[in-house]
Amino acid sequence: MAVPQSPSPISQTPAVGRSVPRKDGLGKATGETRYADDLVFPGMLHGRTIRSTIPCGTIRDIRLEFDPAGFTMVDWRDIPGRNVVALLTEDQPCLVEREVRHAAEPVLLLAHENRETLLGAEVRIDYEPRSPLFDPELSAQSFKNILIEKGDLSDGFAKAHVVVEGTYRTGHQEHVYIEPNGIIAVPEDGGITVYGSIQCPYYVHKALVTLLGGAVTRVRVVQTETGGGFGGKEEYPSMLAGHASLLALKAGRPVKIVYDRVEDMQATTKRHPSIVRHRTGLSKDGRLVAMDVEVILDAGAYVTLSPVVLSRGAIHAAGPYRCPNTRIAARAMFTNTPPNGAFRGFGAPQTEFAIEVHMERIAETLGMDSARLRERNALRPGDTTATGQRLGEDCSARQVLREAIRKSGYRRKRKAFAGTDRGIGLSLYYHGSGFTGSGELKLASRASVELTATGVRILTSSTEIGQGTRTMHAQIVADALGIPYEQVDVAQPDTSVVPDSGPTVASRTCMIVGGILERAAREMRERLDGMPPMEYFGHYGPMTVTGQYQQPDWIRWDEEAYRGDAYATYGWGCDVAEVELDRDTWEVRPRRLTVVTDVGKAIHPALATGQIEGGTAQGIGYALLEHVTMRDGLMANAQLTNYIIPTTLDTPRIDVVLLENPYPGGPSGAKGLGELPMDGPAPALVNAIRQLGLDIRTLPALPEAIMEAACASP
């Protein structure tokens, strides 16, 4: 299909590149917007999940210690289809049959019309306990192994002037979307409709079809306004929707399940803890000649998304650097904790933390300025990554590094802070946009634009979870059609209305789905042939144009060998963190973060800046505050009283600089953006702490860890 190059007579002031009003801004600011827990259906029951209280063992007996009159009860025997949460591997049951693999695993479901009565019901489960496994390094069961090899490692080490080794560890991180998980299942017309706080409606749809089998003729999934996701509502809503649907089908009435904060924190996914070991050879002048990296992720008790989290973590493990001889060996290991899963950054924050602290230690060993070490080794156009991907002109590692150093006054402050209680550090990072390798080709995402009486409407399963999907997609479509932004409406994701645009994950919603919409809108513009959409609709009636993902023809990826073009493009970033140490409390206070990112094109500068500020704040929490304490395989501090995320007083000034080095395949040149800012803050902060003489290699860097490092330092 030819794309019209000449502007049609209906062109307007472009919406792209301007901070137009958010489509959902006023509803959210007035409290009018309805979220899952705000919805009530006639005859609705409340649902509750009875969970395992041990991490490993066999269920012997379940005893109800309440009067079951008026209750609806569901266990695994009530599942009409297959008892699995269908995702990558069908290993996770929706309800435990006998074998318990982690604490807080769902066993029995209850529903009642009175919430207080429901919460008062006591159930006792007797077990044959077995000894649990919590250490991923002692685990014999791997869910996925990845080996990335480039060049000749032994040859590289033979040429090395210096070899630097190090082990780096990171803990769990909890998403803390402020709206906990919530789903309402409504039996309708021989089928089931599910409304809820969901990132990926078609993931839930697939899971329900598998779970409910032939018991329903129709499954419909509707995303309600979602109060934050960050990856935490990528896979778990499939489990929760299954539970609510089973109860609703058995009761023949709508059932709402909304988790309280404790249940949400204990039972749902978290960021994978990691252990990363580096052994790195360098030439005398500080060039990387050999990188040997081992990555271990603690996957928890079921596969969920761990293989793909591991994949992204492994691909990013060598950092944004050129090195001719590289080996990255990665594995995701079974343990008896609730499964870990998707969280903004998806494995890369762990491995980029390791390489960036390691680079700082390499610089110390060489007696070299660490910014210069990065500058010398940073990837540039024409270089190849660890997977052998040759980078094009859209590689901006050195530009973001230089701009961050300049903007923050890094060199001047580095000198001024020496010997004080203040420190400054930096991190250089990158993040692949969209699904890895041939993932986007397999997804074959679709998205549509349809004419309406008032303009056009976008039909996509990409969800608005705060990041600005509606607004940004409407801007892209408005410009491609040459109509005002206000004439573009966006449908609520509803699987009975919108096509499958793939999941809302992997920094793909703007670059990939936005790109599909841009092409669909251009095709529509051609068909309109200069007529305004409303006029065309009035004359000729409805028209829908559906676009499908088209992979750039240059992309080559070998899934077996892990070689080739891992991502169509990358976003690039450099963070400079300034900290101050309180030697009485051993707290490290961040004072300022300067964040320079190349996002290709900021479709909506205020939204893009907001993504970076928010991701940076999450990274600050990951680095300094957020500590999941596991006790017997269960989160012991599952409440906001003692799992601390950054408040206004913990979050310093964040200076954001957006660079725009376009990716030709993205809409207006846009690259992926959502996850990028999560990768940089933790290593930048820990490197700032290093300037104080404190050797931290484990996250989070709590005051206890700082004090221990201070006691250990000479």
């Binding site: 958010r22 801004g25 996701g229 009283t641």
Partner: protein, 144 residues
């Protein structure tokens, strides 16, 4: 229980130990007030009682007897802070926004950055890193 809700006198036969949050959301149908943690840590359920910002999830209904309660709905749809949150993209996912705005109205006009940071320390936002919220609250009011 008699109290004034968004300027209107109400008389409810509610359990004195019921959470004010549930009374507002379920008995009065005002769902703009959100629950994030249920223990007074996140501030999503912030409302005003006699002008003071409180977490309605830890306030028993009996405590508002005779008091004046204001929720986000009580500010109307044209409040300058709602406009400012819209214009400055102070709301991303929006779930903390009503509580954030209710806490912000107690700060008075044109508050200093330090006053805003201190005044909002009990309101968690996981999306914005707070910068856009500061921009919205500190923005000079625009004549509507």
């Amino acid at each position: 229980m008699r109290f004034t809700l968004n300027g209107v006198p109400r008389d409810l036969a509610t359990h004195p130990a019921a959470r004010l949050l549930d009374v507002l959301r379920e008995e009065c149908g005002l769902t703009g007030t959100k629950e994030g943690c249920g223990e007074g840590e996140c501030g999503a359920c912030t409302v005003l009682i006699d002008g003071a910002a409180v977490c309605s999830c830890i306030i028993p209904a009996a405590q508002v007897e005779g008091a004046e309660v204001t929720t986000i709905e009580g500010l109307g749809t044209d409040h300058p802070l709602a406009r400012a949150f819209m214009d400055e993209v102070g709301a991303q996912c929006g779930i903390c926004t009503p509580g954030m705005i209710m806490a912000a109205v107690t700060l008075g006009p044109r508050p200093s950055l330090e006053k805003v940071r201190t005044g909002l320390a009990g309101n968690l936002c996981r999306c914005t890193g707070y910068e856009a919220i500061y921009r919205a609250i500190r923005k000079p009011p625009v004549a509507l």
